[in-house]
């Protein structure tokens, strides 16, 4: 397969943090940066190399703190790698956990435009899609109320509706299926499936293994900042289930 067919490429990517952080200027003046420089690294991702071709639906699974969100962030270019190279081809719409850049004081409708702008879309472009977004998110009744009056599920609906309405080439979903109710989850699944059939690339982080199994052809298992397994969905999920069961 030609490298230009990849939507996302990570090459030896590590994201790391210093264990000892200096939080104040005064502390930096008094004790300097020596302790910080000498402290060991904590890894969010450790030497990860992977490629996701255009049009593939990939699930990412793993326990809390494994590095799943970090992986999505690096893929989306939100954070740079500490080591290695990250590359994305085409437009990317990330939907990270809990409210992708919404403003609590603005109404749901204004937030559609604000969120659209964050994803690089013009007002006119969003206006043409606003009705569809409102209809899909199923919150038409409260669309002109301030966002702070929304429930977590409602915010997630809106975030998902916006990110999937803008027809990005790649869409990254970080644990957003978990917050909606059953009917919304079905709607989301249907929409993600349509996305995949239309040739878009979808990367889903989720703890719901059944959902991942039904949506994705390939699954990447991340644990302790490394890729533990990467392969056909059924295989990797079966191994993950076996591991989690034995670990209990």
């Amino acid at each position: 397969m030609n490298a230009a067919d990849n939507a996302i490429e990570l090459e030896n990517v590590s994201v790391r943090y210093r264990a000892a952080k200096i939080h104040s200027f005064k502390a930096a003046l008094v004790s300097g940066f020596a302790a910080h420089r000498k402290s060991e690294f904590r890894y969010g991702l450790r030497d990860v190399t992977l490629a996701i071709p255009h049009g593939e639906a990939v699930g990412i699974i793993g326990p809390n703190g494994a590095g799943k969100s970090t992986l999505l962030r690096v893929a989306a270019g939100i954070i740079p790698p500490s080591l290695g190279t990250a590359l994305s081809r085409g437009t990317v719409a990330p939907v990270m956990e809990l409210g992708t850049g919404f403003e609590a004081e603005l109404s749901g409708r204004e937030n559609i435009f604000f969120n659209g702008a964050l994803l690089g879309c013009s007002r006119a472009y969003m206006r043409a899609r606003a009705d569809d977004i409102i209809a899909f998110s199923g919150i038409a009744a409260s669309i002109d109320a301030p966002l702070r009056t929304y429930s977590t599920g409602m915010v997630a609906r809106l975030a998902f509706a916006v990110a999937t309405a803008i027809e990005a080439d790649t869409i990254l979903l970080d644990e957003i299926l978990a917050v909606g109710d059953a009917s919304f989850r079905r709607q989301c699944q249907a929409r993600i499936e349509r996305f995949v059939t239309n040739g878009a690339t979808v990367v889903v982080v989720s703890h719901e293994l059944d959902v991942v199994a039904s949506l994705c052809s390939r699954v990447i298992w991340v644990e302790e900042a490394r890729v533990v397994a990467d392969g056909p969905a059924a295989d990797v999920i079966a191994r993950y289930r076996a591991r989690t069961a034995s670990g209990l």
Binding site: A4, A7, V13, S14, Y17, R18, K21, I22, H23, S24, F25, K26, A28, H54, G55, R73, A76, G77, I78, I79, P80, P81, S82, L83, G84, T85, A86, L87, S88, R89, G90, T91, V92, P94, M96, G99, T100, G101, E103, E105, L106, F113, F114, G116, A117, L118, L119, G120, C121, S122, R123, Y125, I166, E167, A168, D169, F195, N198, G199, A200
Partner: protein, 282 residues
């Protein structure tokens, strides 16, 4: 991403992030231009939140400078009668520039703390939040100047023809402030106490700059000391065309240009150096 792509469209947009590679100002500028819509939304959000969509909100922002003007006029107008007739205009014409500088730097630091969660969720040019605060600050300056002109008309202070120079002055003040704000926001992301320190230092800086008093009350042999403060030139370049009705002297203009461009260059260099590690501190 501004060009709406559809499924399977050309994947010409390639975004590569390499470890250890600092931001380039050319790509940041291109990125900002591609996010012009977001810039508009951020400025719009900032102004609507500030003015709470009402005339009352607008008056509220003007109240503070006007109260200061009243107090200082009562206290100093007679004292500086010879050196600064129409003291209210003397004070406000410089205070408008000062207030923009003080508010923008402090608000920009607050805005990064405020928008931290956003910066972890979407990929936007990192300097866009600082830039949006500077732009909404400039809108605010425009409104404050209208209030000042109204006051000048009421008290009979002359409106000079040199006002045409004001946009150039504001451009220089804007550049100086934006550059300073870039450096301070970068530092405040790393160190939580920078914002407090700057906020605490602002009043002292106000008194170190000839805003309330004319620089001529400083004895000649100490004047060079006062003039080490770049804000001396930054307020002078705004006050000259409004209050004195003169164009800035070549010295004031030259120094202003140098320190404005210098502030943007140094501010950007600090910002770009620290930007790749912002996410660890947000």
């Amino acid at each position: 991403m501004s060009t709406a792509s559809s499924f399977g469209a050309s994947h010409a947009l390639v975004r590569r992030t390499v470890a250890g590679e600092p931001l380039r100002w050319t790509s940041e500028l291109r990125d900002l231009r591609a996010h012009a819509g977001l810039l508009y939304e951020l400025v719009h959000r900032d102004l609507t939140v500030r003015y709470k969509r009402s005339v009352l909100g607008f008056l509220w922002t003007m109240l503070h400078p006007l109260l200061l003007m009243l107090i200082f006029t009562v206290v100093f107008a007679t004292m500086f009668r010879e050196r600064a007739p129409h003291y209210e205009t003397y004070f406000l014409s410089a205070y408008v520039a000062w207030n923009f500088f003080a508010q923008t730097t402090v608000n920009a630091m607050a805005s990064v703390a405020w928008n931290g969660p956003l910066m972890k969720r979407v990929r936007v040019p990192q300097s866009i939040f600082t830039l949006s605060i500077a732009i909404s600050g400039l809108v605010n300056v425009g409104l404050s100047l209208l209030v000042l002109f109204a006051i000048m008309l009421v008290v009979g202070a002359p409106l000079h023809a040199t006002l045409w120079f004001l946009p150039i002055s504001l451009l220089l003040v804007g550049l100086f402030t934006f550059g300073t704000a870039l450096a301070l926001t970068a530092a405040s992301i790393f160190f939580g106490d920078v914002r407090e320190m700057v906020q605490a230092g602002m009043p002292a800086l106000l008194y170190l700059t000839p805003i309330i008093y004319p620089i001529s009350i400083i004895p000649d042999r100490f004047r060079w000391l006062i003039k080490l403060n770049p804000l001396v030139y930054i307020v002078e370049i705004v006050r000259d065309p409004i209050y004195y009705g003169i164009l800035p002297t070549p010295e004031t203009l030259g120094v202003s240009i140098v320190i404005s461009l210098g502030a943007v260059c140094i501010g950007w260099m600090i910002f770009r150096h620290m930007a790749p590690r912002f996410h660890a501190h947000l």
